[in-house]
Symmetry: C2
Subunit: 218 residues, 2 copies
């Protein structure tokens, strides 16, 4: 193993990268367990199997380490989410299900613990809050914009525009299910969320022109 | 002031009740700031202006104190929510707005901090999680059941039954707005949530028989 890893070692001090990864992971774990205030550099070092010096060599302060760990978590979350959405969806329903699965896939119990730690930390650390919000708004906004544009191109909707609050429903309900109700929703629960909530909000009648005219003529 | 409070002192050791209240409040504050793991009895005592002995006389362990503080918070939340919903609503829309206002009123910034601490603590403390979930499911379920029954009695809906996931939308979106987006929603934002999301999910067409028949006859 050691030999193989030496053989495939690229330039740029990859052992350093492995240490860095272990430190960031330990910091995230602790953020989920002990919260921002309870995160101690000594404990990060212990869990990462690294010295405090190798932490402070990279990040001058505890705050810098936490911000780096959160950025790492957010980019990993985006990458993990992207991997779950592989096949192009055949319908708005399939596409919404894929989005719900993506959000559920990134909220494994371990990762949900980290997110809960983040939500608490965001309340007293504006810079951290801004980073998380920016990533989420951009990521989720982009994902839902794609869903709506594909629905238009399939002829399932006339416009890709919807009220902003509608875009908060899918992540909002999943947030409630995971963090308040303690449910890790399975595919049946996600299908209910799509069929009972998201499609009624987003699907348009199959032949809107005809139905509209008829309703107006009443 | 001291005299007035002595004069109005009721039987049942009210000074004890005041100390108890101060201790529970300090515990909740700390839960929101430092999380479950970071909550120290010494700090609770300091903030409450009480001795550690008067804490341990009432609650044998840190865990018991935290559970008592959470129960206190939940019953206070229910009472505070009940105070915001005074006048009977004239329509489903008014009633939904009142529910949204109630949920927003109980999530003041200070209380939202406590809830964020609770959400994190719930992940590693099942007993605490069960207490919070029970209170929320009973409270929110009851509130929405009332909204739907009143809509039926006004003739705005035929049935008070809706899919369970629909009932998660209002608290879910507010959860996202408060804890992820960091918004304390004003009345305009709440009106958008009701008009763009909740009414499309819950309102039924004014004369469903006619519209239904007409759609079928096309």
């Amino acid at each position: 193993m050691a030999k193989a890893s030496t053989a495939t070692r690229a330039p740029g001090r990859p052992l350093d990268a492995a240490v860095e990864d272990a430190i960031l992971r330990a910091a995230l774990q602790l953020l989920g367990e002990a919260g921002y205030g309870g995160l101690r550099i000594e404990e990060v070092a212990r869990r990462a199997g690294a010295g405090k010096t190798s932490i402070y060599r990279r990040w001058a302060t505890r705050e810098e380490l936490i911000l780096a760990a959160v950025r790492h978590f957010l980019s990993e979350t985006a990458a993990r989410g992207a991997r779950t959405v592989l096949a192009p969806a055949a319908s708005l329903r399939d596409d919404l299900l894929a989005q719900a699965r993506r959000l559920t896939a990134v909220l494994t119990p371990e990762r949900a613990g980290i997110v809960a730690g983040l939500l608490l930390a965001m309340r007293s650390h504006p810079e951290l809050a801004a980073i998380v919000r920016h990533a989420l708004v951009a990521g989720e906004g982009g994902a839902m914009a794609g869903v709506l544009e594909r629905a238009v191109s399939r002829g399932e909707r006339r416009s890709s525009r919807v009220p902003g609050t509608v875009l908060q429903v899918l992540p909002g309900v999943l947030l409630l299910q995971v963090f308040v109700l303690g449910q890790h929703s399975d595919d049946r629960a996600l299908a209910r969320l799509v069929d009972d909530v998201m499609l009624p909000l987003l699907a348009e009648p199959p032949s809107p022109g005809r139905v509209r005219r008829s309703a107006r003529s009443l």
